[in-house]
Structures are given as structure tokens and as C-alpha cells.
Amino acid sequence: MLQIKNLKAGIEDNQILKGINLEVKAGEVHAIMGPNGSGKSTLSAVIAGNEDYEVEGGNITFNGEDLLELNPEERAHNGVFLSFQYPVEIPGISVSNFIKTSISEKRKAQGLDPIPTKDLLKMMREKMELLNIKKGYLSRNMNEGFSGGEKKRNEIFQMAMLEPKLAILDETDSGLDIDALRIVANGVNKLKSADNATIVITHYQRLLDYIVPDFVHVLYNGRIIKSGGAELAHKLEEKGYDWITKEADKQ
């Protein structure tokens, strides 16, 4: 589904990603871990098409298409979804109107008619139930005055509504208490299928107790320095990053 080859990217003159290689197949869950400043959020921003970052080399293909040639909205239409580490507040637009606009724009790009309001509301109700979201939430302004946990839950709610092929969860666990974490993880797990894939970006092993990854990658200083199975995350939790990063620093 997603192939990243020797990706180099940065912001202004500062190179942050120094040659990333990653392959994600349909049905897989990948976790990307690593210490602060290793480039985790840059990677997710580059995949989503954030124009603040400049791609200096390498390529990304998504279902055979050159992702770097597409603008952010086209990537979303093709099935890429980024759950933001810091979701943006948009006063004046309700959650329901935002999601409605987002879905009809996607359908328009796919040559489909807008989804009937009745069907949309039904779908919203189902997904709200899945994420334990209370009524009244739909008419609140997008992320305005939301708590950290509410913002993250709103991200997963949008993901549930947009049904992406590839979901990137950037630090979705930060700011969540354990109950909210369970609900969010449970939602992500229920949305998982053989046709879609998830990249979980996190600092901590905690989230991976609930969303069990098939692969764990350690990102350090702009490179993936180690990959393994779910057990790698446990080892990191136990021993920290030093034992790998020291080795990488030596090279």
C-alpha cells in the first residue's frame, strides 16, 4: 500500500528525515517510536502533504501513485488520513458541518453525489456510539474549547467517518487518560480491516497494549535504526532507547 524509499525532508535548511525506508501493506499495523526530535511528526506531516516541509529526496508511493505529486486534499481523497497531534480549533463551524463538508468534498472528487443527510446522520450516530461520544457534541464548534481528550476523540471520529485506507495516528495517546485511551484504541481496532492499514506514532508502549502492532520501528535522528515485532516495543519500555541509539551514534 505505502512505500517510502530513501525519504529526505526538512524544514527550511534543517534536514530532519535523512533517508527513511518503510513499507506498509494492507491489513498491517505499524508503530513508529523514538525519542523526542527524532522526526516522527515530520514523517507524518510529509505523508499528509504539509507544505511547511520540503522533500529533498526519495519518494513515496501510495497504491502505486506518486504521493508527493498530490496536494493534501488529493491525498485525503485517495485514502490518507492523519490524526493530528495538535488538532486545530475552527470556531464558527460545527463538528457536523465540518464532517459533512469533508465527506462531500471526498465524494465530489470521486465523482459521487453527496451522501443523503439522513444516511449521514445515521452513520454519525453509529460512529459516535463506537467512540462513546455524547449527543450535543455534533453541534459544538470544531475543537473549540475541547479538552485534550475530546480533541483526540474527535480525530478518531473523523477517521471513522472518512474510512481511510491509511490512517496515521500522530501521538493520539498524548493527553488521554486511561479510560479515554481504551475507548480510542477500541475504536481504532474496530475500524481495522484487511483492506486498511494504520501507522501509530507514539512515545510510549502504553497505547500499544491496546493497539497491537505487527511491526515496530525505532526512528532516531531521521532514520529508522531498528525494526521488529510487537516485542520490540516491550523491550523499549523496559530498557529505554539508549541501548539502540548508542549503537546508532557509533556508526
Binding site: E73, E89, I90, G92, S94, F98, T101
Partner: protein, 406 residues
């Protein structure tokens, strides 16, 4: 021929009272205000008074389909065609008649010109204790080309009465007609009045609109101004609070493009204690458009416990658009709460990327954010039809199909 010469030759054959003649002569001596005049510093009349206008109406008869096209569909319609009052509704407790020559305290030259020349307008009296359920729609149509017209209107709302108005001034050709509009509203004790002004005239149209509101105790009056069309729009909105517990509310939206200019001048005169005023003006500027906002709040020495709030927020969406914003607070009482804020900015890049990452195209995302920016001022309008029209005009102006019916 310039408008002033135009008016001079018109005045020679004008048969009006000596008082009006005197006012007119004084105006003709001084001429139109220039940018040297503090109140007209950022808005130049030069261009719009340099050409010749038709001062007398040579109107055509308008048909019902024209009326329907511009009406928001209310049953209570007051309709003017080239100055002539052609329709008045029957409303219980409300009397509606044509122009009456009333006095006004305003002494600015444009209002004086109106006083000297006006022969058309409406006089509305809402009786005590009358609650008018349906809004009264007032339509002013102009068919005469390059017309310079004056309307002079008076509204008196008796104690405990409630009434809402929706006003629209509409040019029916694409000429550069100008309207000098004057409306005086008296809100007696414990009244509730809302006046909505839809300023969406044809591209070349020009408007100078003055509204004076006099409020007695316990009254609430809201004036909402929606500017979408016209090449030149100047609104003078003056509130005078003459009793305690009054509330004066103003909401304004200007969405301008091309070479449009819109100037909102507001003045709230807090003369009594325990009153409030709320002012929210939002402006969105595209193309080479220009906005002016001047908001003056005066709190007189005896007007304690005043709560006055004013905000003017602007989005400049093009390189060549400009805004001049000037708050003016004059406070002579010591126990008051007055706040004002003015912002000028562009759309939030982070929010744009967030929306695009959710599949919302760049143009649509810009429009949604702009809509969100302006909507706060629309929210305060209580007449649903006006709110919907504002949303529709907003999406038209931004060239997107926003559907917020959910």
C-alpha cells in the same frame, strides 16, 4: 457637471419652505465634506460627487415579478418605486403613511442635505403594547438612471411594543445611482426593535445611510447591517440612550470585492446609567476593496454602570485590499466597563492544512474559514430569512457551494 452644480441649478426652481431653502443654501455654500473633515478622513466622496445625477425621478412602473425577485417573502411589505409609496400593508396596531417632515437633531451636512431635499419616505407608528409578529419588509426600488434620491423615514415605537424590520434599497438598472437615506427611530419605554439592512445593491450603486436611534428606558434596539453589494456605502449609525437599562446592539458584516468601499461609522451616546451596548463588525476584503470602521462610544458623566463592548475584526484576503479601523472611547464616568478590540489578519494556515488533510479543497477551505469568521455576526440576527440570505450571499461572493442545512 458635478453634483454640487447639479444641485445649484436644481435649487433655483425648487419650491420648498424658507427654512429648507436656507439649509440647502448653506449646504451649497459649504459643499460636500472632504477628507479634511475628520468624519470623512478615510472615505473620499470626490469620485461620487464629480458626475451629474438625475435629481428628479422619471420612474417606470415596476411589476410584481421584480418585487418578488428582491423580496424575502414577508407578507408585510412597504414598497417604494422611485420615491413613490406604492404598497403599504395593513397591520393591527401599526399605522403606515408616506413622508412627513420631521425634525432631527443631526447637523452633519449630508443629513442636512437630506432634510432640505427629501420629499419621500415613510412614517411608521407602532402603538403601545403592540407586538408585531411578522417582520415588516421595506423595499426601495429605483428605475431612474443615474438618480440622486433622498428618503426620509420616521419610526415611532410606543411603550412595550415589539417590531422587526428588513430593509433593502435596490437599483433596477446598472447605472451609478446614489441614495441619501435618513431614518430616525424612536424606541419608547420597554420596547424591542430590530432593524436589518440588506445592502446588496448593483455594482455601481452608491449609498449614504444615516440611522438615528433614540432609546427610552428598558428598551432594546438592534441594527444589523449586511453589506455585500454597491460600489460605495457609508453607514452612519447613531444611538442615544435617554433612560436606564437600555441596550443598543449592532452587528455588521461587509464582504467586499473589486473596487468596493464600505464605511461603517457608529456612535453610541450613553447618557443614562445601567445601560449596555454591543457592537460587532466583521469585514472580509477581496480584490482592491476598502473598508473603514469608526466606532465612537461616549459615556456621559452621570452614566454609571455602563457595559459597552465593541469589536471590529477584519480579514484581508488579497494583496490590494485595505482597512482603516478607528475605535474612539470618550468616558466621563468612573464606574463603567468598556472594552474594544480590533483585529486585522489573514486566514490561519494551520487551519487550512488541517481542513485540506480532511479532503476539503483549498478554495472551499478558505471559504469555510471565512464563513466561520463572519458567522458570529450573523448568529445574532433573529430573523431567520435574513440569516439564510446572508449565508447565501456569502457563499456566492466566495464562489463556493456551502451547504449548512444540517
Amino acid at each position: 457637471m458635478s453634483l454640487i452644480e447639479n444641485l445649484k441649478s436644481y435649487s433655483d426652481k425648487l419650491e420648498v419652505t424658507a427654512e429648507r431653502k436656507e439649509i440647502l443654501n448653506s449646504f451649497l455654500t459649504h459643499g460636500f465634506p472632504t477628507t479634511k473633515d475628520e468624519e470623512w478622513k478615510y472615505t473620499s466622496l470626490k469620485k461620487i460627487v464629480s458626475n451629474e445625477y438625475a435629481i428628479e425621478n422619471t420612474g417606470e412602473i415596476i411589476d410584481s415579478s421584480t418585487i418578488e425577485k428582491y423580496s424575502l417573502g414577508f407578507d408585510n411589505k412597504i414598497i417604494f418605486s422611485d420615491g413613490k409609496l406604492i404598497n403599504t400593508p395593513e397591520i393591527k396596531g401599526v399605522s403606515i403613511s408616506s413622508f412627513s417632515n420631521f425634525e432631527s437633531a443631526t447637523t452633519d451636512s449630508i443629513s442636512q442635505l437630506n432634510k432640505a431635499l427629501a420629499q419621500n419616505g415613510f412614517t411608521i407608528t407602532v402603538n403601545k403594547n403592540t407586538v408585531v409578529e411578522n417582520p415588516i419588509e421595506i423595499l426601495f426600488f429605483a428605475t431612474t438612471k443615474d438618480n440622486f434620491s433622498q428618503y426620509r423615514n420616521l419610526i415611532s415605537v410606543g411603550d412595550n411594543a415589539e417590531v422587526k424590520f428588513v430593509e433593502r434599497i435596490q437599483n433596477l438598472n446598472d447605472s451609478a445611482s446614489m441614495v441619501n437615506h435618513f431614518t430616525q427611530i424612536h424606541c419608547d419605554k420597554n420596547t424591542k426593535v430590530e432593524y436589518n439592512k440588506i445592502q446588496n445593491n448593483t455594482a455601481e450603486s452608491r449609498l449614504i445611510d444615516t440611522v438615528n436611534v433614540y432609546q427610552e428606558q428598558d428598551s432594546t434596539c438592534a441594527i444589523n447591517t449586511l453589506i455585500f453589494g454597491g460600489s460605495f456605502t457609508r453607514n452612519n449609525l447613531n444611538f442615544e440612550q435617554n433612560g436606564s437599562n437600555c441596550e443598543s446592539n449592532m452587528n455588521g458584516i461587509s464582504i467586499l470585492d473589486d473596487n468596493q468601499l464600505a464605511d461603517n461609522h457608529t456612535f453610541v451616546d450613553h447618557k443614562s446609567a445601567h445601560c449596555g451596548s454591543n457592537e460587532m463588525y466583521k469585514g472580509v476584503y477581496l480584490g482592491r476593496s476598502k473598508g473603514v470602521f469608526n466606532g465612537k462610544i461616549m459615556v456621559r458623566p452621570d452614566a454609571q454602570k455602563i457595559d459597552a463592548f465593541q469589536s471590529n475584526n477584519n480579514l484581508l484576503l488579497s494583496e490590494n485590499s485595505t482597512i482603516d479601523s478607528k475605535p474612539q472611547l470618550e468616558i466621563y464616568a468612573d464606574d463603567v466597563k468598556c472594552s474594544h478590540g480590533c483585529t486585522i489578519g489573514q486566514l490561519d494556515e494551520k487551519a487550512l492544512f488541517y481542513m485540506r488533510s480532511r479532503g476539503i479543497g483549498l478554495e472551499e477551505a478558505k471559504a469555510v474559514l471565512t464563513y466561520a469568521f463572519a458567522s458570529e455576526a450573523i448568529e445574532n440576527i433573529s430573523v431567520e430569512e435574513v440569516k439564510l440570505l446572508a449565508q447565501k450571499l456569502l457563499s456566492q461572493k466566495l464562489n463556493v457551494d456551502l451547504d449548512f442545512s444540517l
